[in-house]
Symmetry: C2
Subunit: 350 residues, 2 copies
């Protein structure tokens, strides 16, 4: 009875959900080979006979076949995605790194999955959790400070982890970046070399941006060692020219002896330069100003800004190289460190 009903229904015409129109099987049929040959061709074309190869190539072209990477990733248990987690891509530093990394990874057909922590460790933790759901080929994190849970998740997973933009602390696996304290120290030494005796550090958002804080600490330490007077002023808002102008204006009132300022980045420094201009403070004669970042305007302003150029681009390239090497089986030694250094650009403002 039941059987009778069933046969009456004739293949219950499975209601199909939205699905990819052209699959590998379609290509295989068209090329008169098996799906596994198509798969092989896609991954190692040289392993397939010339005739089969060209038939497959032709079929792919004709059918406009687009492989389904989710199926591939599922079957292979690892996807062609790299998860990059930065504080914010609005920050030119990280935008540069993300951009150069994307460019380098693309050549290997790797996709970038982007996440922003907004300088929040809880947010980072959540982003890492989600990132792991994609079985990415690698996870790239910014900085060395992470929540315990983040560390735990990452160390329990087989996914390679690269930390960027910071060196000098405990690493999860590999780190690519530079020492921010050294940046601060180099700034202090530079100002002292220029004969400055009353130094000041102008910082923004240092409660959240621990790398800015490290630069500040390095500055203080080096100035202290050299025995010159040194002080810090900061503002909780993100770095901007407005904040820089505000800080400098206040500094000139409360610390009139100041003859050299270093800023946590070039936005702050630019604002400081603008304010000096408005106040009629001669730069560099009366006051030397320097920044960090070598942003696009830093060489063009009046006077041109002495600054420290980090290696944002190189960080991205090196991180991408590590990932690609890892996929090819060339793993770096555990806990390895790539120091991308930085460059002091001595211009007119100091």
């Amino acid at each position: 009875m039941a059987d009778h009903l069933k046969s009456g229904l004739e293949r219950p015409q499975r209601r199909r959900r939205k699905m990819q129109s052209i699959t590998m099987t379609d290509v295989a049929e068209h090329a008169k080979v098996s799906p596994s040959t198509v798969s092989l061709y896609l991954r190692r074309p040289e392993a397939v006979s010339a005739s089969a190869g060209s038939a497959i190539a032709h079929a792919i072209d004709k059918l406009n076949y687009v492989p389904n990477l989710m199926a591939g990733g599922l079957a292979a248990a690892s996807s062609r995605a790299v998860s990059i987690i930065v504080p914010s891509v609005r920050n030119a530093f990280f935008a540069e790194t993300v951009s150069s990394m994307q460019t380098a990874l693309r050549r290997e057909r790797l996709q970038v999955i982007l996440g922003h922590t907004e300088y929040d460790e809880r947010e980072e933790e959540d982003l890492v959790r989600t990132a792991l759901s994609w079985s990415p080929a690698a996870i790239v994190l910014t900085g060395l400070a992470h929540s315990d849970a983040t560390r735990r998740m990452l160390s329990h997973s087989p996914v390679p982890v690269i930390e960027i933009w910071e060196l000098g602390g405990p690493q999860i696996e590999t780190a690519v970046g530079f020492h921010h304290a050294e940046v601060g120290a180099a700034s202090a030494r530079h100002l002292i070399q220029q004969g400055r005796q009353h130094l000041l550090y102008l910082g923004a958002r240092m409660h959240e941006d621990q790398r800015a804080r490290q630069r500040c600490d390095g500055f203080l330490a080096a100035a202290g060692e050299a025995g010159v007077s040194v002080d810090v002023m900061q503002h909780p808002a993100p770095a901007s020219a407005d904040v820089g102008a505000m800080l400098l204006s206040e500094a000139m009132q409360t610390r009139p002896l100041t003859d050299g300022v270093a800023c946590s980045n070039d936005h702050i420094a630019l604002g400081a330069l603008f304010e000096c201009e408005r106040l009629g403070i001669a730069v560099p004669d009366r006051l030397a100003v320097m920044g960090f970042g070598d942003l696009s305007f830093s060489g063009a302003c009046n006077p041109s800004l002495t600054t420290i150029r980090p290696s944002g681009d190189l960080i991205g390239k090196e991180a991408a190289r590590l990932i690609i090497d890892h996929m090819a089986g060339r793993e770096p030694p555990a806990q390895s460190v790539i120091d991308t250094r930085f460059t002091l650009l001595h211009r007119r403002s100091s």
Copy 2:
């Protein structure tokens, strides 16, 4: 005989490839429910009984379960990823949009997959092809100009497409942005209102950046209609303060009557301001300068820069909203347009 051998081998101990340690089945076993109940719980917790729910929650927590989104995406034929393709994230405009979009999408647990075209249509085509491989929940493209192949791929796919940062041309589906020609026209009208009679447009990379070109065209058209003299100078390099300074310096030599310049963006304008300062050209008395973008320094410089603020943030928010609405079944009418407008900020430089 064969049977004998088999039984001797005891479950041929399938050599397992690298794989996710904890699966949904593990969670189900631990919680003493079926996998589908776990799946249901994950997607609609309210559809599961309280007791089962808490058992599952407990198991997930205890086992540290991380769902495999590739498997989910494969089964559901649509992933929780949104592909965003912009010319470059180094460009502050697109960084802003990407950032605000990422923030909005994250709340819905959607991932951003990022691609850079570097203003190259072939590259975009390739990125779109790869994007489709992920069965994303949506694809976001920058601008309305795309190769025929890109259009074809997209219209043959079921993936919703949103074009951002440009209106006024043929759309694939939905577009969110504003009219760049209107920006140019508004600039021209503003300068004319300020009594300027010899206008000049300073542009960078206009051969590649067609939106900059549209702003320029709008400027020329509006100036022409008003009957004032107008000219254009451009440089093929990407916009920077250096390029702006160079263009302004040349302009003052070859077009000494110029009394109002509009720049294709604020980097150019800033460089122009710097150069005016060096040349001793009074801004705005002798020359009015305006930009486009309202970048972070634009309100802080000397004199503060009159500029036009695009709605990069809003574009990202609106695009994200469209995507989320679409996933909830609320589709916008075909070919719909969201005009996010722009704002002219009249400051001291004009």
